[in-house]
């Protein structure tokens, strides 16, 4: 859970330039975030990173694919 984030990860996440990340992604996706909402979005990106961390650390067996399965 959220506690799985190690201190090291947490430090890295805190040092990460979330604002620049958001600006670059805005450019690539064409979704602009007005200034008044950027702090909320950055907080949400940080929360997402915490919740996703266990997934990022999880080793998934090779035989499992992300592809959908079509059976005739």
């Amino acid at each position: 859970m959220e506690q799985n984030l190690t201190k090291n990860d947490e430090e890295k996440d805190n040092q990460f330039d979330w604002y620049s990340y958001m600006i670059e992604l805005e450019h690539l996706t064409g979704n602009s975030v007005p200034n008044e909402y950027s702090a909320d979005v950055i907080s949400y990106l940080k929360l997402t990173k915490k919740i996703v961390q266990p997934l990022l650390e999880c080793d998934i067996p090779e035989e499992f694919q992300s592809a959908p399965i079509y059976r005739p």
Binding site: M1, N4, Y21, M22, L25, E26, T29, G30, N31, S32, V33, P34, Y37, D40, V41, S43, Y44, L45, L47, T48, I51, V52, Q53, P54, L55, L56, E57, C58, I60, P61, F64, Q65, S66
Partner: protein
């Protein structure tokens, strides 16, 4: 006003209507009057459909007068979360952005099916904006209040659906569940809430949140009403590509059946962490009633929550990309950042989440080789106060919004059928226990829930404050 039927379950109302003991019009008028009066207190309904309801009721009465059968839900009043299309009504999905949209041209598939079964739609119900949020504190339309304590939240996102049933304003309601949005309000409002197998009920004519997670399903005060409503809505639908129509077993036929052959276990590990003592006590209460001594752990459930979180936000962000581009200021402040974030996440997170989903699903399906039904709390704590941001758990303050769904979310994205059953009397507010089974095995859930209801373990009385 026909008080005699106001506090009855759908099955009793339908039976009385079909026998001619009361007309569908009388029932409809009584419920409309009651719901309109109570709505000031609970804020469940976004729109009452009095004219449509009375027309539907008159059709039922006309069929009975001709000696025909109007269906298993004859004259039963119900409401739908306002993301379902209702002919002639603008589909709000909890947002002000859509309030000037043209009205829906036809009913959602499940509403058409309920109409064919004689049910009477009396109104549309408030929800969290775009089905995103666990407390239903919608900034535009106000919070839906919990009938067991109006200072507390109803749970979300189908808050109006849970609260209206708990208050006896309708006999049953429809909600949608992406990451817990039927199960949470059912648990917090103390009623039954059913998220069937992914694809078993058509979602055509509903506003999606995250399509690969989205389910629709009923909330009700009895297991029989859940089963009856589900059976009435079942069937394939060419307009919903994921709808397979469920299985051929009628859930009503599973009521009051023996349960000796069912293998049961409670979920350990993740599902016994980060919750309140009361939430675990609720599960223990059910386990004791069923003599459950086995417990089982699903590995990597924290990763499952992460995967569900990523996929939901990516799908939801894309679903609302035009709204983000054109109406960003009109979002509910509680949902805006989440939807924007969904458009900004790295692709490798999303693909890993999908890969994990396949793996996790196979792991969980393996557990069903040994057990038929698994039990877990529906929520880590009972309904919080309206406006409450944090909750004290194990001495730490945890955010309500991101924690209320921790037990529901990891089970949603692998499509399992889950019935949240209500527990009253542990602490001041109701709790819910999730009964979880393998895809297509809904009948097992109904057997167990029916037993628990008959034993008085899981019952859903109308909230005291709503009973005159």
């Amino acid at each position: 006003m026909n008080n005699k039927f106001l506090y009855k379950d759908a099955s009793k109302i339908s039976s009385a209507v079909r026998k001619g003991e009361v007309s569908a019009r009388e029932i409809t008028e009584s419920f409309l009057q009651r719901a309109i009066t109570l709505n000031d207190k609970y804020n469940c309904f976004s729109q009452f459909l009095s004219s449509r309801a009375l027309k539907e009721a008159d059709k039922v009465d006309a069929i009975i007068e001709r000696g025909g059968d109007p269906g298993v839900l004859a004259g039963v009043p119900y409401g739908v979360k306002n993301l379902f299309d209702v002919e002639g009504v603008t589909t709000l999905a909890g947002s002000v952005m859509y309030k000037d949209n043209p009205a829906a041209e036809k009913d959602a598939t499940v509403i058409k099916r309920l109409q064919r079964s004689g049910a009477v739609l009396i109104g549309t119900l408030h929800m969290s904006e775009f089905a995103y949020g666990y407390t239903n504190e919608n900034s535009h339309y106000g919070p839906v209040k919990n009938p067991h304590d109006i200072t507390r939240v109803s749970g979300g996102s189908s808050g109006g659906s849970g609260s209206s049933v708990a208050a006896g304003m309708v006999s049953f309601s429809l909600g949608s569940d992406t990451n817990g949005s039927i199960r949470l309000p059912a648990a917090l409002c103390g009623v039954f809430g059913f998220k069937p197998t992914y694809g078993s009920l058509s979602r055509f004519g509903t506003k999606m949140f995250a399509s690969s997670f989205d389910h629709v399903g009923p909330l009700a005060r009895s297991v029989e009403d859940i089963a009856t409503a589900f059976d009435a809505m079942c069937g394939t639908d060419p307009y919903d590509p994921v709808c397979h129509g469920g299985n051929d077993v009628s859930l009503v036929s599973s009521l009051n059946q023996k349960i000796d052959d069912l293998r049961l276990a409670s979920l350990d590990g993740y599902f016994k962490n980060n919750g309140s003592d009361e939430s675990y006590e609720s599960v223990d209460h059910v386990c004791k009633a069923l003599n459950i001594t086995n417990s089982v752990k699903i590995s990597n459930t924290d990763s499952a929550r992460g995967a569900a979180f990523v996929i939901t936000h990516c799908e939801g962000g894309l679903e609302h990309e035009n709204d983000i581009r054109n109406n960003i200021d009109k979002f509910d402040p509680t949902t805006r950042a989440g939807f924007i974030t969904g458009t900004l996440l790295p692709a490798n997170w999303y693909v890993k989440a999908q890969k994990f989903r396949s793996w996790y699903r196979s792991q969980v399906l393996n557990i069903f080789n040994d057990f038929d039904i698994l039990l877990a709390p529906a929520t880590p704590f009972s309904a919080t106060k309206i406006g409450q941001k944090t909750m004290k758990l194990d001495g730490s303050d945890v955010p309500v919004l991101s924690n209320l769904g921790i037990y529901a979310q990891p089970l949603s994205f692998i499509g399992l059928p889950i019935l949240s059953v209500p527990i009253h009397g542990i602490g001041g507010m109701p709790h819910g226990v999730q009964l979880i089974t393998a895809p297509g095995k809904e009948s097992s859930l109904i057997k167990i829930a029916s037993y628990l209801e008959n034993e008085g373990i899981c019952i859903a009385p109308i909230a005291n404050g709503a009973v005159k």
